[in-house]
Amino acid sequence: MSENPNNWPLWEIFIQSKRGLDHKHVGSLHAADADMAIENARDVYTRRNEGNSIWVVKSEHIHASRPEDAESFYDPADDKVYRHPTFYTMPEGAKYI
């Protein structure tokens, strides 16, 4: 980040396109504070009614998993097929299950 104190911090923008759906990451922008980030997000990311709710998070508060660890990190999920409903055999004739 730059040293200039007049530079606005970076914010990550999440938009919910419709009631009931998840907020989805759409991009980032600079703003002096959260209120301004929300207003700017409206102008930058919802010019065509793309959303009805906006979340903003300072980019420095986002923590991410490390891509180089991806394989081992997600390993535990690989051998647990029993977490999926299709793993189970249902008795013939049972309904609504």
Partner: protein, 313 residues
């Protein structure tokens, strides 16, 4: 530690498998540099591109045209922002990227160094300049760097009205008085060749193209895109009764494409080198806007600090 050669092979394998590269992934230095240059140039083009059109906002011939032009120019500002954000994911600060534009170190598309002399130029820009940009941007929706591809998808959704409003302006003028038709033709005459130059040097003279194709930053060559643009646009000109200013333009049955004349690359190089009709004016306008906006940026920071203090108290 995996050695660099190994990392490069893994990287290329990902690209070959059509997997997107994301900001935190390892990438070759040259890939990163290439993209920083390309995406920032693209961002600057969106921003500087607002200037020639902004020139006609107050003089649009009707309220409807004025509202449309305002919306289009606002979109272009948004496009600049999406792309500046994509550059930032590569670890370059926004301030640095903007400074490179303001100092003249960074380039932007040369097309924006031509003046908008009449209202018909607004039509020609939407039809031809946005039209040419769309060809390139549709291809870039499939570019290998994730944040760039996502910005492009967003941009492409917004672009099609830009081209259509421009073509409509030309169509209306071409159907108007003889003077209006003449004005449309004159705009087409002036914008045709610079629009073809937007696709960049011929494949034979484009030394970085092969590497960009291998990394799937680009997916089609300059000449391919240019030819498709010509084939489509000639037909559109015919429909509205305007003439493409190229005496050598001719349909080729064998290739199923138009043959066309030669681009004046001396003019292209001259404009790239900074000697186009409006290079100085454009850069001066950006610098003026940036320095005159300094107090706004400072005031917003001061106001945010004051609000935060009040909240804490």
């Amino acid at each position: 530690m995996t050695d660099v050669k190994n990392l490069e092979e893994l990287f290329q394998a990902k690209i070959d498998a059509e997997l997107k590269i994301e900001p935190k992934d390892w990438m070759p230095d040259a890939y990163r540099k290439n993209l920083i240059r390309q995406i920032s140039q693209h961002a600057h083009s969106e921003v500087v591109g607002m200037l020639p059109e902004g020139n006609w906002i107050t003089r649009a011939p009707s309220l409807k045209r004025k509202a449309i032009l305002l919306a289009k120019v606002q979109d272009e500002g948004g496009h600049g922002l999406y792309l500046y954000s994509a550059v930032e994911t590569m670890g370059v600060s926004r301030e640095q990227t903007i400074d490179d534009l303001l100092s003249g170190k960074a380039k932007y598309s040369s097309i924006f160094n031509y003046p908008t002399l009449t209202w018909a130029d607004i039509g020609a820009i939407g039809w031809l300049v946005d039209g040419a940009a769309i060809m390139n941007q549709v291809m870039l929706c499939r570019t290998s760097y994730g944040p760039y591809a996502r910005a492009m998808v967003r941009i492409c959704k917004e672009e099609s009205f830009h081209q259509r409003q421009g073509y409509e302006i030309m169509a209306v003028l071409a159907k108007g008085t003889p003077e209006q038709k003449e004005m449309a033709q004159d705009a087409l005459n002036r914008w045709w060749w610079p629009s073809l130059m937007m696709f960049g040097p011929t494949d034979a003279n484009s030394p970085h193209s092969a590497q960009s194709m291998k990394w799937k930053i680009k997916r089609q060559s300059n000449d391919e895109l240019r030819q498709t643009f010509i084939d489509r646009t000639v037909q559109q000109a015919e429909v509205i009764g305007l003439t493409i200013p190229d005496p050598e333009l001719k349909w080729n049955e064998a290739t199923q494409h138009y043959d066309w004349g030669a681009i004046d690359w001396t003019e292209f190089n001259n404009v790239v080198a900074g000697n186009g009709p409006c290079n100085k004016e454009r850069l001066a306008a950006r610098n003026k806007a940036h320095s005159e906006g300094a107090w706004v940026r400072e005031a917003a920071v001061a106001y945010a600090a004051k609000k935060a203090k009040k909240k804490a108290a």
